[in-house]
Amino acid sequence: MKDMRKVSVTVNGKSYAREVETRLLLSDFIRHELELTGTHVGCEHGVCGACTILLEGRTARSCLMLAVQVDGANITTVEGIAPSEKELHPLQQAFMDNHGLQCGYCTPGMLTTLIEFLQDNPDPTEHEVRVAISGNLCRCTGYQGIVDAALDAAKRLQGGKRA
C-alpha cells in the first residue's frame, strides 16, 4: 500500500495543498504536482544544482528533499524571482546582458544560488563567485558569462540599495 501524506505549502506566495506519496521528491512535487516546470531536474543526486530552490530564503537542492518535508514551509522557485510579469529581477537582467545562459537548463539553479549568495556576500570577488557556483554545472557558457553576470548583478543590486 502506498504511504500517503497531505502537504500544504506556499510557493511564490501562492498556497497549495496536495496528497502525495511520502517518497515523492520535492523536485518532482514542484514540477509534476504544482506544474511549476521552471525548476529543472538534472542529475537527481545532488551534484548538478539545476533543481536548486529557496526554502525559507535558503537554497536547497529539491532533489535531495522529500515533498512531505516542506509541509508548512515557504518556497521560492525561479518563477517567483521576477518582481512582475513584465520586469526581470536585476540578476536575471544581468544574465541576459552578459550571456549568462545559452540553453537555459542550469539557469534556474544558477539564479536561486546567486540570489542567496549575493545576500550573504553583496560585494564578492570573482573567485568568490566561482566558488559560489561550484555546485552548479553548466555545459554551455564555460561559466565566464555567468561569473560576469553575477558580478554585474552585485553592482546593480548595490546601486539599487543606495538609490
Binding site: 545532488g46 522529500l66 518535508q69 555546485g135
Partner: protein
C-alpha cells in the same frame, strides 16, 4: 533515480525516534539528507522505514559550557559556518566547513548526519578526530558518550547500535592563540577530498611547539591520527625542515586504494597536506610571531 517505497515517520522527540528505531526493522534516520537522499535516489539503500528527524526538537544548538563547545546533532553546517562562537573557539571547524560541499548542501547538511554517515574523506569527522570530540548518542536504554577515536567501527560504520542515534557532539577547545590549519586536495571545490589534513598547534612563548594534533582524512577507512608526526613536532621550533620531517612520517599510514587514487598516492598526499597544514597552523599561532 527515485527513492524506493518506504514508510515515513516524523517524530518530534528523541525518545520517540529511538523507540521507532527499536520497533522497526531496516529503518534509516533522515537528517539533512545530503548523503541519504542521493543514496535513496540511486537505491543504494532501500529502507522499509525512513525516520525524518528534521522536526525533532532540541537537537540544534551551538553553545559553550565548561570550556568546551557543544553542538547539536541537527545543527546545520551553515549555522556552524556562520557562528561567531565556533570561529572564536574552534576556528579549525569553520575552516573545515568551508570545504564541505556547497552553500546549498551546507544549508541542509548537519553535523550529526556527517558523523553518522562517516565518509572516510568527510571533513567533519576529520576535525572531530583532530579535536578529540566526544559523540553523544541516545538509545532506548538511555544516553552514552563515545570518544571520537572509538566512534568509527570501520568503513562508513559508526560504533552505535541500530536503535541508537547521535544527539550531539562536545568539542574540547584549544587555548586562545593556538594555531590551526586545514588543507585538502580534491579534484574540484566542494568534492569530497582525496586527502585532507587537520593540524592544531599550541605554541608557547618563544615559538616552541608544546602540543600538536595531526590528523588525516581520506587515507584510511576513517580519520587517522598521526601520532609519530605529533611526537616529532612537540618541542620543535617550527622550522621548515622540522615540518617536512614530521609530515614524512605520514607516508607509512595504511592507505586505501580506489578508482580515484592508488594507496601510494594517498600516502604521498598525506605528507604534502599535513606539511601544508602544519605551516598554516604555525603561521597562525600567536606565539610564533
Amino acid at each position: 533515480m527515485k527513492p524506493p517505497p518506504f514508510k515515513y515517520h516524523d517524530p518530534r522527540t528523541v525518545a520517540e525516534t529511538v523507540e521507532l528505531l527499536a520497533r522497526n526493522e531496516n529503518a534509516k534516520i533522515l537528517a539533512g539528507g545530503q548523503s541519504l537522499m542521493p543514496m535513496l535516489n540511486m537505491r543504494y539503500v532501500q529502507p522499509d522505514h525512513v525516520i525524518d528527524i528534521n522536526r525533532v526538537e532540541g537537537l540544534s544548538y551551538i553553545r559553550e559550557a565548561g570550556g568546551r563547545l557543544e553542538i547539536g546533532a541537527m545543527t546545520r553546517q551553515r549555522e556552524i559556518e556562520y557562528a561567531d562562537l565556533v570561529a572564536r573557539r574552534a576556528p579549525i571547524v569553520r575552516e573545515a566547513i568551508l570545504n564541505v560541499g556547497h552553500r546549498q548542501t551546507r544549508n541542509r547538511g548537519t553535523l550529526g548526519g556527517s558523523l553518522s554517515h562517516l565518509d572516510p574523506a568527510a571533513e567533519l569527522p576529520l576535525v572531530s578526530a583532530a579535536l578529540e570530540a566526544t559523540v553523544h548518542v541516545q538509545g532506548p536504554k538511555g544516553k552514552r558518550d563515545i570518544a571520537m577515536a572509538e566512534f568509527p567501527a570501520g568503513y562508513m560504520s559508526p560504533s552505535i547500535e541500530l536503535d541508537e542515534m547521535v544527539i550531539g557532539v562536545t568539542l574540547p577547545v584549544w587555548p586562545d592563540g593556538h594555531g590551526y590549519g586545514f588543507v585538502e586536495f580534491s579534484r574540484r571545490h566542494g568534492d569530497f577530498a582525496i586527502v585532507a589534513a587537520a593540524v592544531l598547534l599550541d605554541v608557547e612563548a618563544g615559538g616552541k611547539i608544546k602540543r600538536a594534533s595531526v590528523t588525516v582524512g581520506g587515507v584510511g577507512p576513517s580519520p587517522v591520527r598521526c601520532r609519530d608526526a605529533e611526537k616529532a613536532l612537540t618541542g620543535e621550533k617550527g622550522a621548515e625542515a622540522a615540518f617536512r620531517a614530521a609530515a614524512e612520517t605520514c607516508r607509512t599510514i595504511d592507505a586505501m586504494e580506489d578508482v580515484y587514487a592508488p594507496a601510494w598516492y594517498r600516502q604521498h598526499l598525506a605528507t604534502v597536506m599535513t606539511r601544508r597544514a602544519m605551516v598554516a597552523a604555525f603561521g597562525r599561532a600567536a606565539n610564533a610571531r
